[in-house]
């Protein structure tokens, strides 16, 4: 039986007085790939940001635990150090801090060990090569002047170097051309193994081409209304979300 990574029970949460998640249950174990589908505004990004501990979201009820540890009291950076990683939909620009500098600092923070600069540079170069990123990106300021695609690749680069246990990917494939999607997809696939897990938000599922999907959750209006296997994705692509609601109503 694979070890449990993430357990969410009865989660209700919102932002600025508005309730977005209205009672959500989710379990993710090691080695699994979960997909989160749903129309815009259903609360997918909110869920990911809640797992990550974004200060602006408030948990109203329910529990979240990671590897048996209650997440509630942990600030974001502690959650990252426990092994949770979030790939953002629109990554922030941090002027003045190079990609290399930021990644090295993060690696050090997460592992709690001093990172040897030369060894790290080699690791970085290898990962960048895997993602077909030109080595000049290492010295560029974090996401400053990066195109959408370049920002997303930068997120996956961080995924590969920081080696988290749970990767939350928020629409990492949106806005990318065919080649870029393939690169990102391969990157995620290279990351994934039987000791870690992925929760992926996607609209067109292209990122899933190299992954074996274990469970698909459909989120609507703050609640998971349907769960199933990979075939759910095709069904929604063909008939849309409304179809599911009709089904649920029946």
């Amino acid at each position: 039986m694979a070890a449990n990574l993430l357990t969410i029970e009865g989660l209700r949460a919102g932002v600025a007085g508005k309730e977005i998640l209205k009672g959500l249950n989710l379990t993710i174990n090691e080695g699994e790939v979960h997909v989160l589908l749903g129309p815009n505004g259903s609360g997918k990004s909110t869920l990911m940001n809640l797992i990550m501990g974004h200060p602006k979201y408030t948990r109203l009820a329910g529990k979240m635990s990671f590897a048996g540890e209650d997440l509630t009291a942990l600030p974001t950076f502690e959650r990252a150090r426990r092994g949770i990683f979030l790939s953002f939909q629109t990554p922030e620009e941090i002027p003045g801090i190079t990609v290399e500098n930021m990644l090295r600092t993060a690696k050090q923070a997460i592992t709690g060990q001093k990172v040897k600069i030369l060894a790290f540079k080699k690791q970085l170069a290898a990962a960048m090569a895997k993602l077909s990123m030109d080595e000049s990106y290492a010295e560029r300021y974090m996401n400053v002047g990066f195109s959408g695609g370049e920002k997303k690749r930068n997120e996956i680069l961080q995924l590969l170097l920081l080696e988290p246990k749970l990767a939350l990917l928020d629409e990492t494939d949106s806005g990318l051309d065919v080649d870029a999607v393939q690169i990102v997809s391969r990157g995620v696939s290279a990351f994934h193994n039987e000791t870690n897990a992925c929760l992926i938000i996607t609209h067109n599922a292209r990122i899933l081409s190299e992954l074996k999907v274990d469970c698909v959750h459909v989120l609507m209006d703050g609640q998971i209304i349907e769960e199933g296997g990979a075939e759910l994705i095709d069904e929604i692509n063909r008939h849309g979300f409304a179809h599911l609601l009709d089904g649920a109503a029946k």
Binding site: F77, F85, I94, T105, A106, A109
Partner: protein
């Protein structure tokens, strides 16, 4: 020297306006007397013309009121300055008297023992003899002159006389006049035509004249086609019992020459830092200012670049960090006085914990300075709501075909940026520090590595107060 007279007149017309001020002239109980000045001059073995110059400056000083704008200077104890500048004043204090936080910072910055006592003005002057002398040899071979001002006055009198306080005359303002009367110490650099000085010269080596540098005069002449990088100051806090620093820096950049003038100023928290720096740039010349202002209680610092020859250029990069109890009023001025001149001013200010950071600038395009191009960019970061950040830029444009742009931003550290870094395992405090370091990156980049490292250390130390 007909040509020099002309440019001084030009400058006078644009810069000086010594009409009757509203405020009364500040009088000290024991005013700086002629006797004191003569005494100083005699002890220094000044040539006659320098004595005359000092006396003239004293006269201007006594008739000039304090500026009517800017930080409050009423704390300035002019009496102590009087007693201080007397040549028989005892400079050496005791290490025990040096404030704890100064000693602390020395330790944090890893300053060696001998330097500590020198910087604190209580020990023998630190003389990095070996390094200093080896640099001297390679410079001499190239014909470069690098000495202290007193020596220059003796060994290169004509050269000094031609340039000394012509670019910044005593009537500029009260503290320049004071400087003209009591100046002591500082660096003199002369780079002959065509010589590229490869290693940066550091004023740090020159801490070997009495007066501990608070009225020091720096005079640098870079002849046609030559180039030099000069670094003034260091990140260690310079402690001084007397709390006034009224220095003066004059930079002459001749045709096609290039001068980079880097400074990290970190005067101790009791200091009033009233420094006047000016560069005169001739045809095709370039002046680059790199300036980091961290310490002092009050600072008034506006390096001025006069683009006097066609195609003359100025690049200014600066950062000012005003923390608790500090009022740092800094900026830059550029005067476009010839056609096709261009300037780029890029500054960052940070204020926290009740500090006041003021950015003040002036871009003046004189009539006839056609096709002037100038871009000013100022970003201000506020770390809390107890501090102040004020931006006061002025553009005065008269030339034809001018292309002038200015932009300024004010705000705080982005919550989203902090969150992003925390999702990568970096603690909130460290995330903020990273963002602030990123904010001052453009300045760090322009400094030699060890200075950039020191500057970052300084920032870390400064930030600890706010975050902790």
């Amino acid at each position: 020297m007909a040509k020099k007279k002309t440019f001084i007149e030009d400058i006078e017309r644009t810069l000086y306006d010594i009409k009757n001020e509203d405020r009364p002239v500040y009088k000290t109980k024991q005013g700086l007397t002629e006797e004191i000045i003569r005494d100083i001059s005699a002890k220094k073995h000044d040539p006659d013309w320098m004595l005359a110059f000092r006396l003239h400056s004293l006269d201007v000083y006594n008739h000039t009121p304090l500026p009517v704008w800017g930080p409050d200077l009423s704390e300035l104890d002019m009496d102590r300055i009087v007693t201080y500048v007397k040549p028989d004043a005892k400079m050496a204090g005791r290490w025990e008297d040096v404030p704890e936080d100064i000693k602390d910072t020395f330790d944090r910055l890893g300053i060696p023992e001998a330097e500590k006592t020198s910087l604190a003005g209580v020990g023998a002057q630190y003389d990095s003899e070996v390094v200093y002398h080896s640099i001297q040899e390679s410079l001499t071979r190239q014909g470069v002159i690098y000495t202290d001002m007193e020596t220059a006055l003796v060994e290169h009198e004509d050269l000094v006389r031609e340039y000394f306080m012509k670019l910044v005359p005593p009537k500029d303002h009260k503290f320049v006049a004071l400087h003209g009367a009591v100046w002591s110490g500082g660096s003199f650099v002369y780079v002959p035509a065509g010589v590229q000085v490869k290693i940066p010269l550091q004023s740090y080596f020159r801490l070997n004249s009495p007066g501990a540098g608070q009225f020091e005069h720096t005079l640098i002449i870079v002849e046609k086609g030559a180039s030099l990088h000069f670094i003034e100051g260091c990140s260690a806090p310079k402690y001084n019992v007397t709390n006034l620093h009224a220095g003066c820096v004059e930079l002459y950049v001749k045709e096609g020459a290039r001068l980079r003038y880097s400074t990290i100023e970190n005067w101790s928290r009791n200091m009033m830092n009233l420094n006047t720096k000016r560069a005169l740039v001739e045809k095709d010349g370039l002046i680059e200012w790199v300036s980091g202002s961290f310490g002092s209680h009050v600072s008034m610092l506006y390096p001025c670049s006069i683009l006097h020859g066609e195609n003359a250029r100025c690049e200014f990069t600066g950062v000012t960090f005003a923390g608790h109890g500090q009022h740092l009023d800094t900026g830059a001025t550029v005067v476009h006085a010839a056609p096709h001149t261009s300037a780029n001013i890029n500054t960052r200010t940070i204020s926290k914990d009740g500090g006041i950071a003021v950015y003040r600038s002036a871009v003046k395009v004189a009539p006839g300075a056609d096709h002037a191009k100038c871009s000013v960019n100022c970003e201000s970061l506020m770390l809390d709501d107890r501090s102040r950040s004020d931006t006061l830029p002025v553009m005065d444009i008269q030339g034809d075909e001018a292309d002038i742009g200015h932009e300024a931003r004010i705000g705080r550290i982005s919550d989203e940026a902090v969150y992003y870094l925390t999702t990568r395992g970096i603690s909130e405090d460290e995330a903020r520090a990273m963002i602030v370091r990123g904010f001052v990156e453009p300045i760090a980049k322009a400094l030699p590595l060890e200075y950039a490292v020191e500057m970052n250390n300084l920032i870390n130390i400064e930030l600890e107060g706010a975050m902790g």
